[in-house]
């Protein structure tokens, strides 16, 4: 047995080395093929905007070609009246209906970099996505700016709207939208009884059990509607929660982000006051999960449910 193991080990190691060498040569060849094309800078002079990661993003004076890589950003772009400037979107972007006419460039987690470059955008709008590092470097080498948003609260969502307004030169419209939204929020806040502190559990997925944590803007949203998220102290934005912990949370209200696999509360909530008193509510996942202007619709719905 020992002999065969060792033989196999070395045989595979040898194979691996051979392949590795071949791969290396291939990669070197490829790298040499790539000629350094430096695109001429377009639309000078350049303005600078700081994004949510603290990066300084250089933009041309006017932006008329942009790609959005998140449904909430597409919604904001349309809301500020710059929908006609969008040349690419993700397959998830279904609102407003006009957005669906725009070409797709993959989904939020797997955008197609070639498609994006072919569309010649001046800026790509990103919501904190994975693989952002390599992605950004590739796009910036093509003179395409990458603007990252990462809203953790309602105020951050307002900030995203202002930022996107600024990018497209629609600051006035953005201010109007934010004013309108804050007015609706103020109205909700004036009507509710904040002292109630209703214990709310927001279920993102039933199995495995995912919920919202301290970094989610939904934690802030619940706090503004007279509730308190029972998972407000759990690290990260969307944690997978231990069922034991979920069991002792005893929420008074359960809100389901309504999607195919999340139509009822997890079995651990069977004996919770929420389930016993029939206080389980569904809110359309597209509305509740996107930090866009429509989030205030979600806020109004949550408030209505909590005050019932």
């Amino acid at each position: 047995m020992e002999k065969t193991t060792r033989q196999f080990f070395f045989a595979s190691l040898h194979l691996f080395e051979k392949n590795l060498l071949f791969l290396l040569v291939f990669v070197c060849l490829l790298a040499n093929c790539r000629t350094e094309t430096v695109n001429p800078p377009i639309n000078l002079p350049i303005r600078e905007i700081t994004d949510d990661l603290g990066r300084t993003v250089k933009l041309p004076e006017t932006v008329d070609r942009a790609v959005s890589l998140a449904p909430n950003l597409t919604e904001i772009v349309f809301a500020v009246g710059a929908g006609d400037k969008l040349v690419g979107r993700t397959s998830y972007d279904n609102f407003p209906p006009e957005a669906q006419k725009i070409q797709t460039v993959g989904d939020t987690m797997n955008p197609n970099i070639e498609n994006i470059i072919a569309l010649k955008p001046q800026v790509v709008l990103v919501s904190t996505a994975s693989q952002i590092e390599t992605f950004t470097r590739q796009l910036e080498s093509q003179n395409i700016a990458v603007f990252v948003t990462n809203p953790n609260s309602l105020d951050d969502i307002y900030k995203s709207i202002h930022q996107i307004g600024e990018i497209f030169g629609k600051t006035e419209k953005a201010r109007e939208i934010v004013e309108g939204l804050s007015k609706r929020v103020a109205e909700v806040e004036s009507e509710i009884n904040k002292a109630k502190n209703i214990k709310v559990f927001l279920q993102i997925s039933k199995e495995p059990l995912f919920t919202i944590g301290e970094d989610s803007f939904l934690t802030d949203l619940i706090a503004r509607t007279g509730g308190v998220s029972v998972t407000a102290n759990v690290a990260t934005a969307y944690p997978k929660l231990s069922k034991e912990t979920a069991f002792v949370l005893n929420p008074d209200v359960i809100i389901l982000s309504e999607s195919e696999d999340n139509l009822e509360p997890n079995d651990v909530f069977k004996n919770s006051p929420a389930v016993k008193n029939g206080k389980v509510f569904k809110i359309n996942a597209d509305i509740i999960s996107r930090p866009s202007p429509r989030i205030v619709d979600a806020l109004e719905q949550i408030a209505r449910h909590l005050q019932k």
């Binding site: 033989q7 069922k243 004996n271």
Partner: protein, 324 residues
């Protein structure tokens, strides 16, 4: 491969009792730990529910999954005379995973379809790998492992394709599940896995003597009167059953079937009459420990147990490989 007879029956009995007690001890220790603190001398109703309805079913299911995978690994390694034979590396796990996924997509409401289709997928993958590895000159080690790798990657690409076609919400639960996740443990899931482990152990123990002879060589085993074809079919069916139920319950928990039988052989030699039952016990201990880490390391959040087994398993395997 040398078949070592146990030094004495008493010694192996002592080992058996020791392993069994260790498993009980591990389960008890795991039951003490969790994201919620329980005061064991005075359990209130809520704590009883946590212990008996949430924590223990998960621990016991973990034990069954570990036992299943280690049993499958131990018997496949002897049957194929290959120390690298393992459900995960041979594509059996991926076959079961694909079966479970198809059941999930097409028979969403029908929960019993998952273990059945997982068993089907595992059997099919085993059959294909075996057919690919077989040549006129008999089976050779490199061929078998390569076929395993090919089938594994082929099945993974189908799984990736399927997850890409599913919508985003389902994708999330699948990616977690594919890494091996015990959080969806239920009592009924545990009963099913437990039944599979008992049946699998009984079947494989019947083959243990034949497997011992086959380790020397199929030719010699044949001369000793072993019905090679039947043994092979029985072991394939039993390991598909074990892997199928394990994967349907918890996704792909890797490295258990590889590491555990190796460690067991280091401890007690390579007599399958001992390796098979001891692998079951040791596999159960390994997965229960790994899942305890997964449950408690970043509580109240959770990690997938498959990430922990791979984290421990891969370096351990390299160490064993260099040592041998």
């Amino acid at each position: 491969m040398k078949v070592q007879s146990p030094k004495s029956k008493i010694q192996s009995l002592r080992f058996g009792v020791g392993f069994f007690l260790l498993l009980i001890l591990t389960i008890c220790a795991a039951a003490l730990l969790g994201s919620e603190r329980l005061s064991f001398f005075d359990l209130n109703e809520q704590q009883q529910t946590i212990l008996f309805d949430i924590r223990l079913p998960r621990i016991l299911l973990g034990a069954c999954v570990g036992a299943s995978l280690a049993l499958a690994g131990a018997s496949l390694q002897s049957l194929l005379r290959n120390p690298l034979a393992e459900p995960y590396l041979l594509g059996v796990s991926n076959g079961a995973a694909l079966g479970t996924m198809l059941a999930f997509v097409f028979f969403t409401q029908f929960e019993a379809a998952r273990p059945i289709m997982a068993f089907g997928g595992a059997s099919l993958a085993t059959f294909v790998v075996y057919q690919m590895a077989k040549s006129r000159a008999g089976m050779n080690v490199e061929r078998l492992v390569l076929s395993g790798v090919i089938v594994t990657t082929f099945l993974s690409s189908i799984i990736v394709l399927l997850t890409s076609l599913l919508d985003a919400a389902k994708l999330r639960s699948f990616t977690f599940w594919l890494l091996g996740d015990l959080s969806q443990a239920t009592k009924s899931g545990f009963y099913l896995s437990f039944a599979a482990v008992i049946i699998g152990t009984i079947i494989l123990m019947q083959c243990a003597r034949a497997l011992n002879l086959m380790m020397i060589g199929e030719r010699d085993a044949f001369d000793f009167g072993v019905e090679i074809g039947r043994v092979r079919l029985t072991v394939f069916a039993a390991s598909s059953l074990l892997v199928g139920t394990a994967v349907a319950a918890s996704g792909s928990v890797g490295y258990v079937g590889l590491i555990v039988p190796h460690l067991v052989r280091l401890a007690i030699g390579s007599d399958n009459r001992l390796v098979i039952p001891f692998s079951a016990l040791a596999g159960a201990i390994f997965v229960v420990l790994a899942d305890t880490v997964a449950r408690t390391a970043i509580a109240p959040r959770e990690l997938p147990v498959g990430a922990i087994t791979a984290l421990i398993g891969a370096p351990l395997f390299i160490y064993l490989l260099r040592k041998s």
